[in-house]
Amino acid sequence: MLRYRVIPIVLIDSFSVLKSIQFGTRRNLGSPITIAKTYNSRNVDELILLDIDASKTGSSIDPFIIRDIADELFMPLTVGGGIRSEVDIEKALKMGADKVSVNTMALNNRDLIPKMIKTFGSQCIVASVDVKKKDQKNYLVHSHTGSCENMDLLDWCRYLNDEGVGEILLNNVDLDGTMSGVDAELIDFVSSSVKAPLIYAGGVGKPNDCVTAIKAGASAIGISSLFHFTNYTPNDCKEIMNINGLPVRL
């Protein structure tokens, strides 16, 4: 049967790896290639590489960074950051990416999603959705462009799902970088409403958080801080998941 995935997320600002807290404060962590090499040697399930400034600056993730990182990996690579057009996607794939993550592009021009899917196939397109909690019960889509002030999360995820995106990457802005635990309610809320597999990211502070996330309905868990700032490895997370009866690849 299908295994649950633990996916390290590597954030870059053009050329350096960094880690944010609540999408704000940043810490610089060095070379993406070194980090990719380490993850490959740890036999991880896959890798997500996101340039978090590209969209803001009107550029897109550097194709040569994609190539240099893809060259270190024999596992699937998803890349994102300012992916705006079919040309951007084609370039990313040619450089070695297997899937592309789109965020701002989808929000600014939702008609592009079905076009991308038609050309490249559903399995190639990951819709990345940043989410903030408005109050006890409401979640809103967050965007650096401020373009979705009151956009309901579920409406947006359902739209993406209906258009046929391959996966949804849900980034919890409030918990990002805090290592304070995952939002199981949010995971359940979204995963029970969409057919596409859900990759949840934001807040994992210990391996057991992965169990919580998966049991709440995620198909995969995206992790950044835990691996950058503690001694826990992806395998540590999978061991705990395995002990808790969740099929993983060990």
């Binding site: 649950y4 024999f74 699937p76 450089m95 297997d98 490249f120 399995q123």
Partner: protein, 203 residues
Amino acid sequence: MIGLVDLGIGNIRSVEKAINELNFEYKVISTRKEIANAEKLILPGVGSFLAGSQKINDLDIKGILRTKILDERIPFLGICLGMQLLATTGTEGGFVSSGLDVIQGVTSKIKRSSDVKLPHIGWNSVKQNGSILYQGIKDESCFYFVHGFEYNPEDADANVAYVDYHGQIVASIEKERVFGTQFHPEKSQQVGLKLLKNFLDFK
């Protein structure tokens, strides 16, 4: 000469990297003439059947591929879309398009009940069937799948291995010197590299 057929859709770089890692020489090819000169063929692909079928038409290589595979019987490996294109036809969004028709069968969308996530994405274990592809690989090893469509061969002589995803999905196929994998060996770490080596070593 090992020919890596580039349909121009998807990512062949990963396959190139894997072949390089295994120290085999190959050529990236896409014309009828180049295919005619190949002694072994690999057809990778990511994308829709429709797009793949269209590209084969645009490049006008259906004929030469069938000649090389069925008449000259050179070893052939189709990866993901490359395996799905072995089918007679593929149905997608109401359209029916033709495949290479090398091993009779149909490629169509995976259907599961509403609570099952689709596409089929991630690592899943393959129940091996004795194919040479799996030589030296532990049974039920995991390979990486990322697809929304599946190939269902109708040829009783084809040796098929399955993966379980709330029901069986064809994971790989072997018939004489024709091979196909739904999963991506070039993305499946060590077991994937071993599988590719088994094909590249195959005479």
